[in-house]
Amino acid sequence: MRLVKSLALFAGLGLSAAALLAGPASAQKRGGTLVQITQPEPPSLGSYISTANPVGQVASKIYDGLLEYDFNLKPLPSLAESWVVSEDGKTVTFKLRSGVKFHDGKPFTSADVQFTFMEVLKKVHPRGINTFSEVTAVDTPDPQTVVFRLNRPAPYMMAALSGYESPILPKHVFSQGDIRTHQNANTPIGTGPFKFVEWRRGEFVRLDRNADYWKPGKPYLDRIVVRFIGDTGTRAAALEKGEAHVAGFGAVPYNDVKKLEKLPNIRIETKGYEMLSPVVELMFNTKKPPFDNAKVRQAISYAIDRKFVIDNIWFGFGKPTNGPISSNFAPTGLYTADVTNYNVPDGVERANKLLDEAGFPRKADGTRFEITHDITPYGEEWRRFGEYTQQALAKIGIKASLRYEDVATWLKRIYTDYDYDVSSNHLFNLADPVLGVHRAFHSRFIRPGTVFVNGVRWSNPRADELMDRATIEPDAKKRAELYAEVQKIVVAEAPLAWTHEISFATVLDKRYRDVIVSPLGLFSSFDSAWRE
C-alpha cells in the first residue's frame, strides 16, 4: 500500500517535472506591463557615452548589440548573424542580419555599425576608448557586411559587443550635431525590442513594445516601465505589494531580500551578473609605509575572515576568493584557484607572525601602528564591512580609525590625491580581464584623476608584461596560462587583498518568467520575459 502510494507520488513528480521542463517553451503569453525598479535614476539614457549602471538597465532594452552571450560567456548571434576572425586575429568580419529596422522605420545597415564604432564608441564611450583602441577601420563592403581592421589582435573585443556595452546607433540620427550633447541621448532610437516613449524625471521611463522587432513573436511584454524610488523601505514595499516586479543590483538591500524571499509572490535570482563579476578588494596605498612592505599587506589579507564577512555582512550572497579574476571565468579557462590561499583558519596567527617579521612588533599597549581606514561610501554593507575591517585589524595589533565621506570626496582622495592608508572597493571584472581586471594593478593604469584604476600605485614589470601579452594573444589556451601566472604574482604580492565575489540578488515577482536569461541580467533586452 505504502509502496504503491510512493510509486504514484514518484510518477506524479516525474510528470510535473516533465511539465516544468516542457512548460516555458509553449506557455509564453503575450501582453502585460513589467515594472522594473532602477536605483538611482539614470542621469541620461545615452549608453554610448555613459556606462553608469542605471543607464545600462534602461538603454539595454532599446539598443541591440552585434552579439549576445550565453551563461558560459560564449557569443551568440544578434544583429550580426555570423562572424569570422582571421587567422592572425587582425580582421573580424561580421555578416549582418537583413530586414532589421530602427524604431523610426529606417533600415539598419553596415553604415550604422561603422558610424557607431568609429565615430562614437571609439571616441566618447568611457570604456570603448580603450576596448576599441586597436580598431583602425571598419570597412563596409556591402550593406550587410562589416570588416573590423585591427592594429594588433584584440580577443577581448569579442566579449564587448553586447547591446549594453556597445549599443548600435542609427547613423542618420546621431551623426547630426555633436555626439557629446546630442538631443537624442534622452530620446533614444535603436533596433531593440522596446521603444522609448516617455521619461518623466523623478518618476519613470516608459518603454513600449516594438511590434516590428526582428525576433519573430518577441518581445512578449507590451510595456516596460522603469520606476525610480529613492527610499529602500518603499522599494521593498512596492515589490511586496506587486506594484513593481523586478529590482536588482542592490536596489533592495540584502536584509530586505531575506525578508522578501519568504513571501509567496517573490522569487530571488542570483544569476545574471556573470558578465560583470564584482570582486571586493581591500586597497593598500603601496607607495606609503608601512604598506610598501608586502608582508604587511599579506598580513591584512590573512586577517580577514572571508566566511564571516559573507555570512554576516552580505547575508550569504557571496563567495570567498583570493585573486582578482572572478570564478565566473572558469568556463573560459582564465580563472585559476592555484594561488596563495589567505583564507585559512589560522589566519590571525600567520598575520601576527608576518607583522613581527616586517619589523612592527607590538608596543606596550598591544598595538603595532595606527592607520586610517576609508570606508567605501556605497551604503550599509560597505559601512559594516569597514567596521569589520577595523575589528579584524585590531586583532593583529593595527589600530584603525574610520573615515566616511561622500562618493565624490572619496573618489578624489583615493584616485587623485592618493591621500589614504587602506580603503575598500569592488571592481567589475566585466566581460574580459583586459576590460575589468588590468586597470586595478597594471602600471599603465596609475593615472591620477582617473577613478577605478590602479589607485594602489603598484607596479610590477613582470605582471605588466604578462598582461600585455595576454591582451593580444589570440590562442585561448596560451592566454589562460599567461593569466594563471599573473594571478599567482599579484595574489602573492597582495597590492590589493581580494576577499570575496559579490552575488547581487535580483528580486522578481513570480508572475513574470524568463526575465533573467543572460549573463548580463538586468542589462539585457528582456525580449523573452513574459507574464503568466
Partner: protein
C-alpha cells in the same frame, strides 16, 4: 489711495529683491566651490575606469577647466538673461528640468499648506475653547507626539498600514504606471497618490500651528479689546470668531511664510519615501553628483520663491490688520 500705496510697496520690494537674490546666487556659487570633487569625477566614477583623456574631455566640456571667478562671471551674466545653463549630467537644460519638477512640488506643497494651516487653526481654536478639559489635553498631547515623530518613520508606517495591510493607497509614485489613466481618471489617480505624502508632510506643521494657534487665541482672549467686547455684551462665539481669530491669525501667517521656504527643501525626506517627483529629490541628487549648474538653478528658484512669499506675507498682514501700514506714510 491705499491700493496705490500697496502697489508701490510691492514694486519697491520686488526691486529690492534683485540684489538679495543675486547675493544668494554668488554666495551659493562660492560655497559650492568648497565641496571636494567635481561633476567630471563623479560621472567618470559611475562609468567605472574611464581613461584620463575622457575625464579631461569632460572637464573642458563642462567649463570646469576655467578659473573659478571666470566661471562665476559667466554664470552671473547668464542668470541676468534668465539662462540657467545646461546640466551635463542630465543632458538637458536646467530650466526644463526644474520646471518639470515644479508642479508636483507645488501640488504637494499646496495640499500640505491647506491641510496643515486649515487643520492647525481649527484644532488650535478648538483646544483654546475647550481649554483645560480632556479634549484640550487630547489635542495637545497628539500635537506633541506629531511634532516629535520623525517624518520618514511616519511615512514608512503609513505605507505599511494603509498600503500593504489595508490596501487603501498605493505605496509610492504620483500615478499608476501600469494603467496610465487619462482625463478625470488621471486626476483622481493623482489625488489618490497624493494622500499619504500630504498627511506625512502635514503632520509636523499641523502640530506646530495647533500649538501656536492655541497659545495665541488664549492670549488674545485675555486682551483688553476682548474684555471690552465682552462688556459690550457680545457673545463668546462672536468675540472669538470676529475679533480674536483675526488677530490670532497674524503669527500663523508669519509661520506659513517660513513653512513655504522649508517645504521647498524639507520635503526631500517625504519625496524620497513616497518617490514623489519633486524639487527636493532633484536638489539632493544633484548635490551628490556635483551637478552645480542644476543645484544653483534650484537655489535661484527657491530664493526667488522665498522672496515672493515674504512680500505676499506682508501684503496679507495689511489685509488682516488695517493698523499695519506699508511703506512710508
Amino acid at each position: 489711495m491705499r491700493g496705490r500705496r500697496l502697489a508701490r510697496f510691492i514694486l519697491i520690494r520686488l526691486f529690492q529683491a534683485v540684489p538679495v537674490v543675486l547675493g544668494v546666487v554668488v554666495l551659493n556659487f562660492l560655497l559650492l566651490q568648497l565641496a571636494p570633487g567635481d561633476a567630471a569625477t563623479v560621472l567618470a566614477g559611475e562609468a567605472g575606469g574611464a581613461p584620463p583623456e575622457y575625464i579631461e574631455q569632460l572637464r573642458a566640456r563642462f567649463g570646469l577647466d576655467k578659473p573659478v571667478l571666470v566661471q562665476l562671471a559667466l554664470y552671473l551674466k547668464n542668470i541676468l538673461f534668465l539662462d540657467l545653463g545646461y546640466s551635463f549630467r542630465n543632458s538637458a537644460p536646467v530650466l526644463g528640468l526644474i520646471l518639470d519638477r515644479l508642479w508636483p512640488t507645488l501640488l504637494l506643497m499646496g495640499a500640505t499648506l491647506v491641510i496643515s494651516v486649515g487643520g492647525g487653526v481649527l484644532l488650535g481654536v478648538a483646544a483654546a475653547l475647550w481649554v483645560r478639559t480632556w479634549r484640550d489635553h487630547l489635542i495637545s498631547v497628539a500635537a506633541v507626539i506629531a511634532y516629535a515623530t520623525p517624518l520618514f518613520w511616519v511615512g514608512l508606517m503609513l505605507i505599511l498600514v494603509f498600503s500593504i495591510r489595508l490596501d487603501w493607497f498605493p505605496t509610492s509614485g504620483m500615478e499608476d504606471v501600469v494603467a496610465f489613466h487619462e482625463g478625470w481618471a488621471r486626476v483622481v489617480d493623482i489625488a489618490h497618490h497624493l494622500v499619504l505624502p500630504t498627511i506625512t508632510l502635514s503632520l509636523f506643521y499641523l502640530a506646530l500651528y495647533t500649538r501656536l494657534m492655541r497659545a495665541t487665541v488664549l492670549e488674545q482672549r485675555g486682551a483688553e479689546y476682548a474684555t471690552t467686547a465682552r462688556a459690550k455684551g457680545l457673545t463668546e462665539r462672536a468675540i472669538t470668531f470676529r475679533h480674536v481669530l483675526r488677530n490670532a491669525l497674524l503669527p500663523i501667517v508669519t509661520m506659513a511664510g517660513v513653512q513655504v521656504g522649508a517645504l521647498l527643501g524639507g520635503s526631500i525626506v517625504v519625496e524620497t519615501v513616497f518617490a514623489w517627483p519633486g524639487l527636493g529629490q532633484l536638489a539632493f541628487q544633484s548635490l551628490f553628483a556635483r551637478d552645480f549648474n542644476l543645484l544653483l538653478g534650484i537655489f535661484f528658484l527657491s530664493a526667488c520663491l522665498v522672496v515672493l512669499v515674504n512680500i505676499l506675507v506682508d501684503v496679507v498682514y495689511v489685509l488682516l490688520d488695517p493698523r499695519i501700514r506699508v511703506g512710508d506714510e
